[in-house]
Amino acid sequence: MAVVNMLEAINHTLHAEMARDERVMVFGEDVALNGGVFRATEGLLDAYGAQRVVDTPLAEGVIAGTAVGLAAAGMVPVPEIQFLGFSYQAFHQIAGQIARLRYRTRGRFEVPITIRSPFGGGVRTPELHSESLEAQYANIPGLKIVLPASAADAKGLLATAIRDPNPVLFLEPLRGYRMIKDEMPDGEHLVPFGRARTVAEGADVVVIAWSFQVELARRAAAQLADEGVSVRVLDLRTLVPLDVASIVEAVEACGRVVVVQEAPLTNGFASEIIATINDEAFYSLEAPIQRVSGYDTPYPVGMLEDHFVPDVERIVAGIRRAVEVEA
């Protein structure tokens, strides 16, 4: 067990999976010669060669679209979209084709595609480099949506994604690439989809989060512990499939809920969490569920982004709102 950051965990796992299965191909913009603009694909070209690690022309639509054909040919495509905001250029292939090929062909064609893409704000990137778009993909049947919040999970979930015969959108938190460091299990390490992770135990209120917001929620919980508020933190890990059982169990145990997302408020995935709790644990709720969220504005420029993204302070405030109310 070595302590590594998420980027190292992802790079390590890409190496391991390419070594394990020669059908795995990594391709995208600047992933080969340059090892990726964040070095996530560093060393793959040297280790596995130009046939399996490929710099593509600058066109997200055809990066996603060729993945469909590669999959049909029996390869295991792991394309990278350099920043999730540019997956918009590939939306017609991801939502319209990748997510449906198995369904349209009744299983004649498998689609073991893992689309890797960094996303999320707080690191002063230019426009369209920071958008949290998971909710826009969550309404598209046929796509699995995976968002690791730790280096260990980055390894375990990425390995599972690459081996999954279904399309997976694997979203990597820009802010966590180097900031998030933890112990990465050696050797084979697979984290199953649809199993949330309890990051902090607590009984008064549960904070439900994913990706980098889990780290913020953890800090908020620690801060409130000193005040005697017992905060549970649940890391969903995957939005599709969704671990409804763990959500229900946490809601039944705590009765009060906060959901954190960086995406804009309206119809973010927090809305689905709340709707799911309404369906499954309505009678356990002792107070309205609190959303701590980005705002209904486009992701703002550098001087404003710290005001847009949820921070520990806002999560703490959300938790206070949730626990204050009398049952």
């Binding site: 593509t56 679209g65 004649r108």
Partner: protein, 336 residues
Amino acid sequence: MTDLADDIVQAMFTDMLGARLFSQRVFNLQRQGRAGTNAPVDGSEALVVGAAFALDPATDWVLPQYRELVGLERFGADVLDRYVLYSIGHPEGGHIPEPTRVWPPQISLATQVPHAVGLAWGMRAQGEPGCVLVFLGDGSTSEGDFYEACNFAGVLDAPVIVMVVNNGWAISTPVSTQTRAKNFAEKSHAFGIPGVTVDGTDAIAVHDAVADARSRAVAGAGPTLIEAVTYRLGPHTTADDPTRYVPPEQLDAAADPIEVMRAEVQRRGIWSEQWEEEVLATADARMERAVVAAESHPLDPTEMFDHVFDEPTPRLARQRGAFAERVVASTGEGSH
């Protein structure tokens, strides 16, 4: 130009006659409320069959748009059988079983071109011998996918043949509104790949152009863009009224691929009225079987939930369960 043997030419004409007949039958099924919207092949018979006969069904793939499937009998009976199933709205219509190397219809225009390039790329990565041919229409060439895919194919030297079916129209939109390019073969300059224009009403000419492109592709010489020029002889689809926009004189002036090929078969002295009648009778019977099979193909409504993923998510399994209960309970089910 290769000199095709008489029996090959006869076989090609046979598939062309079949294509038109099959297409007309599917069109009529829609008129009778037995099939959904569909797009007749009329005008494309020669280019589809000509291409099919230049390919090797054992090693090569065909990715159609939607108008071409009735002409791909050479790739296996499943193609037509599943197309009929597709046309009546059965989910299994999208499933053309192994080992047939034909993809189902693509409705989202030009999205199949990147798929074809990826497939060709993957075949080469796997050391497979064949190539991929993808059809798209003149209108579809205006989509970014066509361009991105052809451009990437050039960079990859992918063994792919991109056939632009220039039938003059994209629904009501004429080619002059799609592009100012001299012709569609010219677009190959943007990709640095060879481009040729061929008479799409002449099956043998198309065959030869595709055969050339295929030998280049499998020899590792990369992709080819082929523009097959024809004219759409029917409506865009069962939902279209071409009299609103197609100039009658254009339609009258258009060559009919069936007549062109019949003349060739006659020139070779291998045609007789009786022979053509037998071909049509055989095709008619074959289509009748396909329709009967399709209309009696079982369908359990719960199949709606299959194949979203290899294994349903818990949420999907629950939705399926609730649905199954409701459907079994519901008496009005049959009417659905």
